[in-house]
């Protein structure tokens, strides 16, 4: 090879960051990309539902308990709600809630886990105690009690439910991050940063956290799926989000009694829910594969 040519070319090439490599690998994962597209399309559809069908989730039509038709795509319930509009609203709420939950849980879990792993000793023991406590806590009963006790101060509002669930879901991620930080903190580039005079904050946020991001992103995606299921379970049990606001869990709960006679009330919102959780999980799997350093086949 002619050395000059390769050098000249190389100088113009902008670096291929590891993020780009990962993105490349993710986008070659057809299943994951399909799931991401489907979830995005579903989210877009929640905003288009009303203009498309003419029904809002609050509307009560005179068509009571009708099966799916071109007028009501998912049928109607006993009091005349358009079930498609209701399902789409529920989907939207579930996505929003799960995003907030995953955001809170990810930030808390990453920072606290990194702090544990970096400082070790008492800090580790203290936060670790909290992590253990949250992990052994039976989540649903506790959330149900919280929901009933706090109804007066907005306990049934969307954001409140999301924040509360988020405060309970960060513990597993903190454990993962703590473990990874234990291994990264022994690497020489961390020692190098300390030798340069870097502060603890700088080492944690500039060196430790960026190097655990691959696990964090994968875990965050899976937390989204968990959050959807927790919120659904709460709504199914009659806690959390209250009417007139809808969520997929509440819809499935209401349609449960009619599963045999008016199947659309139960199965259609249920199918939407399952599709969403599946899509999120597929995206998570795709991300995990993309970050896996052993996958060197495709760059």
């Amino acid at each position: 090879m002619d050395d000059r040519i390769t050098t000249a070319l190389a100088d113009d090439v902008v670096a291929r960051s590891q993020w780009r490599t990962v993105a490349g690998r993710f986008f070659s994962h057809r299943f994951a990309v399909g799931a991401l597209l489907a979830a995005s399309a579903g989210y877009a559809l929640t905003f288009l539902a009303e203009p498309l069908t003419g029904w809002s989730y609050k509307d009560l039509s005179s068509d009571l308990s009708q099966g799916p038709s071109s007028r009501h795509w998912f049928g109607t319930d006993t009091i005349g709600h358009d079930m498609f509009a209701q399902s789409m609203r529920g989907l939207q709420v579930s996505i929003h809630v799960s995003m907030v939950v995953a955001g809170i849980a990810t930030v808390l879990g990453t920072v606290l886990g990194a702090v544990q792993g970096w400082f070790r000793g008492r800090v580790d023991a203290g936060v670790g105690l909290l992590v253990d406590f949250l992990l052994i806590l039976p989540l649903l009963p506790v959330l149900m009690v919280l929901a009933t006790r706090t109804r007066a101060i907005g306990g049934s509002s969307l954001m409140f439910v999301a924040v509360v669930i988020g405060l309970f879901l960060w513990a597993p991620l903190a454990r993962v991050v703590r473990g990874e930080v234990f291994s990264i903190r022994e690497k020489e580039f961390i020692e190098a940063a300390a030798a340069l005079g870097a502060s603890n904050t700088r080492i944690i946020f500039r060196h430790l956290i960026p190097n655990v991001m691959s696990s964090v992103i994968v875990y965050a995606t899976l937390t989204v799926a968990t959050a959807i299921l927790v919120e659904t379970a709460l709504a199914f049990l009659g806690f959390g989000i209250q009417p007139p606001e809808v969520s997929l869990g509440a819809l499935v709960d209401e349609g449960r009694d009619a599963a045999r006679t008016r199947w659309w009330l139960f199965y259609l919102p249920g199918a939407v829910l399952i599709s969403l959780v599946l899509c999120v999980n597929f995206v998570g799997d795709g991300l995990r594969d993309a970050f896996d350093p052993r996958q060197r086949r495709r760059r």
């Binding site: 960051s17 190098a192 340069l196 502060s199």
Partner: protein, 367 residues
Amino acid sequence: MPSARRGGGWRRRWAPARPQRAPASEDLRAPAVTEPAISPDGPLLRVSDLTKDFPVTSRSPLRRPTGTVQAVSGVSFHINRGETLGLVGESGSGKSTIARCVLRLIEPTSGSVNFAGTELTELNRKQMRRQRRFMQIVFQDPMASLDPRMTVAAIIAEPLQIHRLVTNAQDQVAELLELVGLHPQHGNRYPHEFSGGQRQRIGIARALALKPEMLILDEPVSALDVSIQAGVLNLLEDLQDRLGLTYLFVAHDLSVVRHISDRVAVMYLGRIAETGTGEQVYTEPAHPYTQALLSAVPIPDPKQERQRHRILLHGDIGNAADPPSGCRFRTRCWKAEAICAEQQPPLVDPGIGHPVACHFPETARVE
């Protein structure tokens, strides 16, 4: 290599490193303690009686302390301004521990580390962080010592950001890259895109960003291919001449140390066995360990190599958790007598011109 235009740049900016320090430390709002006393004649670094014990804990979940490993036991040495001290010894002799103790990357158990008049062991965390500007380290494994998630430019600019010395990051980084013989355009790449030698140059550029007075080189070339080593060594010598740097060069490769060092200290199991100028230690070694070490250096001529006199040592370097009494080398020494097990030989000059820690020092000519 730096172009002519850039070449003038570093000379202007780099040569007057000392006078620039006073205003720069004001940027850091540093108290006077970080300002090394101006003592042009005294040594830049003086280490006295440095000891480092590592606790050994039991394997049970209780992790009870069961003893200590004394990695460094009572080591004293000094380095003059602009000089290179080579620290040689086999694995486990405590070389790297000394390097890290000097920078307080690990806390010394006892002893004193005096850098340009400042007693480093007495500084608190904050004062020590400011002090780090004047002494930097280059690590052995250039892949492990560069953050894989940062671009080269970000890596080199980091020390400037930490010490708030950034004026024009892009120019500063470009200048540093040229100083170590890399292309400024390489700044937006990631460490994994470089060869070992190039990565080590990046590590050197990062260490030089703060215009330190002293570099601690912890086996800077032992992870590199032999063909690359020479280039990096030449760069280090070149930088020392240009910037007036002082080096503590830690290595196990005798020929590399001889090439770069003004003075050499030979370590064995946490203690200095012999120290002197490169000439003294390499041609007139008086400590049996130094003699054995030098006799192991291969000669590139096969005829001479076959006739070479070798001193074969038996056994392993001793256990630092349970070191031999008296002279630590006695278990492998062919001269060992009763006194060697009873008394630790002091590191003194037995009348040969350089200090040796042996009860029976005897100069041997080595060609």
